[in-house]
Symmetry: C2
Subunit: 149 residues, 2 copies
């Protein structure tokens, strides 16, 4: 898989995640959950703390997750989501070609090849978004189709 294909794969998943965020009623996004797990709004904030900060780290070796502060409102989460979408496209083009095969320690804690670190960010989003699908169903809301990106 080429870097371009991986970026398109990620942004396709991010478009779906945006629809899942938007499917939650405002008052449920940060309050509703099942089995004592985190509400979906908190998971969305986690995605924001992982995406752009991971790319910044991969490019500059400065690892900082503090760029996404608390935003307990759907409109604010969606606004940050759209900002991140543009930023991810912009930063991706700055990753040197050979970097994907190099090893980094993300945020001082997670060592791995750069392509695996990026896949982890994508997989983490898919994993927790699946959790969000259950929350929506439990709320009686039809989630967006998984295969549409």
């Amino acid at each position: 898989m080429t870097p371009d294909a991986m970026l398109e794969h990620w942004q396709g998943h991010r478009r779906l995640t945006r629809r899942v965020i938007d499917a939650f009623p405002d008052d449920k996004l940060f309050s509703f959950s099942v089995g004592g797990m985190r509400p979906f709004g908190e998971l969305a904030r986690e995605f924001l703390r992982m995406g752009v900060p991971m790319l910044n780290g991969i490019i500059s070796d400065e690892w900082n997750q503090s760029t996404a502060a608390d935003a307990p409102a759907k409109a604010e989460i969606l606004r940050r989501w759209d900002e991140s979408t543009v930023e991810i496209d912009r930063l991706w083009r700055q990753i040197p070609a050979g970097r994907f095969e190099e090893t980094r320690t993300a945020f001082g804690q997670w060592p791995g090849k750069v392509h695996d670190l990026l896949l982890y960010v994508i997989d983490n989003e898919i994993h927790h978004r699946g959790q969000g699908y259950v929350y929506l169903r439990a709320l009686g809301i039809e989630p967006p189709a998984f295969y549409e990106r």
Copy 2:
């Protein structure tokens, strides 16, 4: 990402999915769900119907999902899981090098580049496994760690 890295990525996820299947009590695997969704045992059967059959299709252009019949028992699902693990390793080595960039229509329905079709199978497993994590939590069971593969 190289084909070898993608196989290892997939098998790592499959090892985690196996632990999630095994974490369900026998009597809950095919009966318990949240929000009217499918029980996790049915999702595990879906994974079995997608993995080896997708590889067979990619290699031979014969698309057949019937290899995984019903198996409403945890021990039987795990047995088939382990068989599929060996089979996936074996079939992966038969994929011609250039095939990943070619386009196929999986099971007569889903067109796409072969590497995207394979990623879809992996993503679908991650997605529904996230759903299984919620079921386990709702049952009061601690799911396996997501980052362990």
